[in-house]
């Protein structure tokens, strides 16, 4: 499945391991959260990167001890209007997680900008829409009222624009 990252389509090089699949000796793997809990010791000794496919009903805190070893957290959208993963992504970024946060499931162009703003930086997008549609969708609005969220170069925060004499926003976060 094509993966959208930094406005380009890239191949997904991660190995998606199920709950009980045999994992290859090497290679970056994504495992379900239940498996991470069960086999964290073995998994953390693998030579390559480790990611987790999280659910949107578990608490972000449950991941906090694992985050330093994780390079990727995949958060699901079972339906485009199930918005729990927006809050989970924000919480993970608040915890200081700098790895990839990947949106999976029912990911649509019209929600792309919102996802970017809360800290998602990779998207499982399927084949339905051309890359152009995604690129256009990622910059539909160039202004936002909220502060301290993730902004691309083409976006500005109203507050910062209004108060140009202000100190640059210290915690302006940047994903990845």
């Amino acid at each position: 499945m094509p993966l959208l990252k930094n406005d380009t389509l890239i191949a997904d090089t991660w190995i998606h391991g199920g709950l009980d699949d045999q994992l290859p000796e090497a290679g970056d793997v994504i495992v379900p959260f239940a498996r991470l809990l069960r086999e964290f010791d073995q998994l953390s000794h693998r030579p390559d990167k480790l990611g987790v496919a999280f659910s949107n009903i578990d608490r972000a805190e449950a991941l906090s001890t694992f985050l330093p070893r994780l390079s990727l957290v995949a958060l699901p959208f079972p339906a485009f209007n199930d918005g729990r993963a927006y809050s989970l992504a924000r919480q993970l970024r608040d915890f200081g997680f700098r790895g990839e946060i990947r949106a999976t499931g029912n990911v649509l162009p019209d929600q792309l900008q919102f996802m970017l703003q809360v800290g998602f930086d990779a998207f499982d997008i399927g084949e339905r829409f051309p890359l152009e549609a995604w690129k256009r969708a990622s910059k539909q609005m160039s202004l936002a009222y909220q502060r301290g969220l993730f902004r691309r170069n083409s976006e500005a925060e109203v507050w910062t624009e209004r108060h140009t004499d202000a100190e640059p926003w210290l915690e302006q976060p940047h994903a990845g």
Partner: protein, 551 residues
């Protein structure tokens, strides 16, 4: 009142362009109706029984004359010459074409208005006291905070796909005219001994299928913490609110199921964890906004206006209207004018384009260019010199806008019901009209005194029937409309949910039943006791007997 700066303008223009593109893609068939639906809803466009309905946000109910005139223009050019003011201080147009919608949004943007988030499972238009900035009992004008919240909640990326819609109301006065206890979040201003302002935060109130009074989670939240704390509430709700059942998805159910203490501790834990610098309400931003809401330059006038008193002596109709429709202004020599949109036998909340223009004229000429939409579906001119009140009344009278029933039986709140709404199970407007016609005798209305009648055409309770002193809920039983009556509701600071009286009534019986209830009240009331006080003292029993014993 608030004026857009270049950034507000740019934001709304972009949003309009975005919608134009979406609507065009829909009309070309590139978007299916299923895919278009959430996009149009986020822009206030519903598909109703007969046509599209566009709900336009009137932030905290405040309008200028120019804006009201533009609403009139839209009604004439793209609708059927009228609009419907709602219980959420908004205006709805009921006969809209999809292909016109982007042009309408553009016309709204011309006067610093929009329809963003008047629908969908997001934070809706923030409502407040329709007497804000004018009321004598007010601690401070709540609208700067209303505007702050409008901006913060506009296209908030984290909170645009909540379990369900989310409504915030704000009041700056101890007498609650914003119904803050029956909102998802209600904010009520308090001042401490040091003169500092702090907000009581009330969560989990609501009407609909499961009416509840909200619980206070903070007694006195310092103003700079407001946004951060609200984000913590929203995050807890977004993560843990139920999504399995649309009727259990509002925050009130989460508060109820977790219990108020547990809910509060979740919020406090979230709030304590989150870095707060990025959400701190900056004093300079709040000051920037508040400057727009500075009170108009009031003249120094005597409290007593000779012209006003003389006009009342000369004209009994004016005297009656003045008695019922004026509110006490904080400045001597001024009055708050409440324009009733409830003429005898009329449709509650409807106004024609001509009427809107007239009200705009009056606001510009006599009222510091301000109008308010109230959640009672009326219009308010908040600052009118008493010397000018008679002239205002004359103009209103000439336009069919001088109903003297403000706060009385005839001042009925009703949702659009089955005449328009796709969700409705029964009609609401004809019931309102039949009650209105049964009480044409304004002397009798005045004798009965303050009482609120609220009618909803379905369980979703847009007519707020749970908090009507007399609430009427239209339901469908095997294809027949019938109406359940509740008594004892109130949206005030002493908020209460009405109690169902007994079996329902057919549509043509409702006005008679209301008559019996009010006759019973007149018989049993103590001197100077209003309806709700008598009900509180006596309970439902005598009313039940009057309604059902004889039958």
């Amino acid at each position: 009142m608030y004026r857009y700066d270049e950034f507000d303008h740019q934001f709304v223009r972009q949003r309009t362009a975005q919608f134009r593109d979406q609507a065009e893609r829909r009309m070309k068939g590139e978007l299916s109706e299923d895919e278009f639906r959430p996009l149009r809803l986020m822009n206030g466009l519903y598909l109703q029984l007969h046509a599209y309905m566009l709900r336009v946000a009137v932030p905290y109910g405040t309008l200028s004359g120019r804006q009201m005139r533009q609403l009139a223009m839209i009604a004439e050019r793209w609708d059927r010459g009228y609009g419907h003011f709602t219980t959420r201080q908004n205006i709805q147009y009921n006969w809209i074409k999809l292909e016109d919608t982007a042009d309408i949004l553009s016309a709204l943007a011309d006067v610093e208005m929009h329809a963003i988030q008047t629908s969908g499972n997001c934070i809706r238009n923030v409502t407040t006291d329709h007497w804000a900035g004018a009321a004598a009992d007010e601690i401070a004008d709540p609208r700067p905070v209303g505007e702050l919240l409008r901006q913060w909640s506009s296209l908030h990326p984290e909170f645009s796909f909540l379990p369900r819609k989310f409504k915030i109301a704000v009041t700056g006065a101890p007498n609650d005219r914003a119904a803050v206890k029956v909102h998802d979040i209600g904010l009520r201003l308090h001042r401490n001994d040091k003169g500092e302002a702090g907000w009581e935060v009330i969560v989990g109130g609501g009407l609909g299928r499961t009416p509840m009074i909200g619980v206070t989670v903070r007694d006195f939240l310092p103003e700079p913490e407001l946004i951060g704390y609200l984000e913590a509430i929203m995050r807890v709700y977004n993560l843990y609110g139920r999504r399995d059942n649309k009727y259990k998805a509002r925050i009130k159910i989460l508060v109820h199921e977790l219990g108020a203490d547990k809910f509060k501790s979740e919020v406090e834990a979230e709030y304590a964890r989150k870095p707060q610098a990025s959400t701190e309400v900056e004093e300079r931003e709040l000051k920037r906004i508040a400057a727009y809401f500075a009170a108009p330059q009031f003249d120094k006038l005597p409290r007593w206006s000779a012209a006003f008193e003389a006009a009342k002596l000369k004209n009994a109709d004016f005297a009656r209207w003045a008695r019922n429709n004026l509110g006490v202004h904080k400045v001597g020599g001024y009055a708050i004018v409440n324009i009733s949109l409830k003429p005898e036998g009329g449709i509650p909340g409807d106004a024609s384009a001509e009427q809107m223009r007239l009200m705009a004229d009056l606001a510009e000429r006599y009222g510091s260019d301000e109008l308010r939409v109230s959640h009672y579906q009326n219009i308010v001119l908040p600052h009118v010199r008493k010397d000018d009140v008679f002239a205002v009344w004359q103009a209103l009278d000439g336009a069919g806008l001088a109903a003297a029933n403000h706060g009385l039986v005839g001042d009925i709140i009703a949702c659009p019901g089955l005449d328009y709404c796709a969700l409705a199970t029964a009609r609401a407007i004809p019931i309102a009209q039949s009650i209105s016609r049964a009480f044409t005798d304004i002397d009798r209305q005045e004798e009965i005194g303050p009482v609120s009648i609220n009618i909803s055409g379905c369980i979703n309770a847009c007519g707020h029937h749970h908090v009507g002193n007399i609430g009427i809920l239209g339901l469908d039983k095997k294809g027949e409309e019938f109406y359940q009556i509740t008594l004892g509701g109130s949206p005030s600071e002493k908020a209460s949910i009405g109690t169902i009286l007994g079996p329902g009534f057919a549509g043509h019986e409702v006005a008679g039943a209301v008559g019996k209830i009010l006759d019973t009240y007149l018989k049993l009331r103590a001197p100077s006791e209003d309806f709700i006080a008598t009900y509180s003292r006596l309970g439902a029993k005598p009313f039940k007997e009057a309604l059902y014993a004889a039958a």
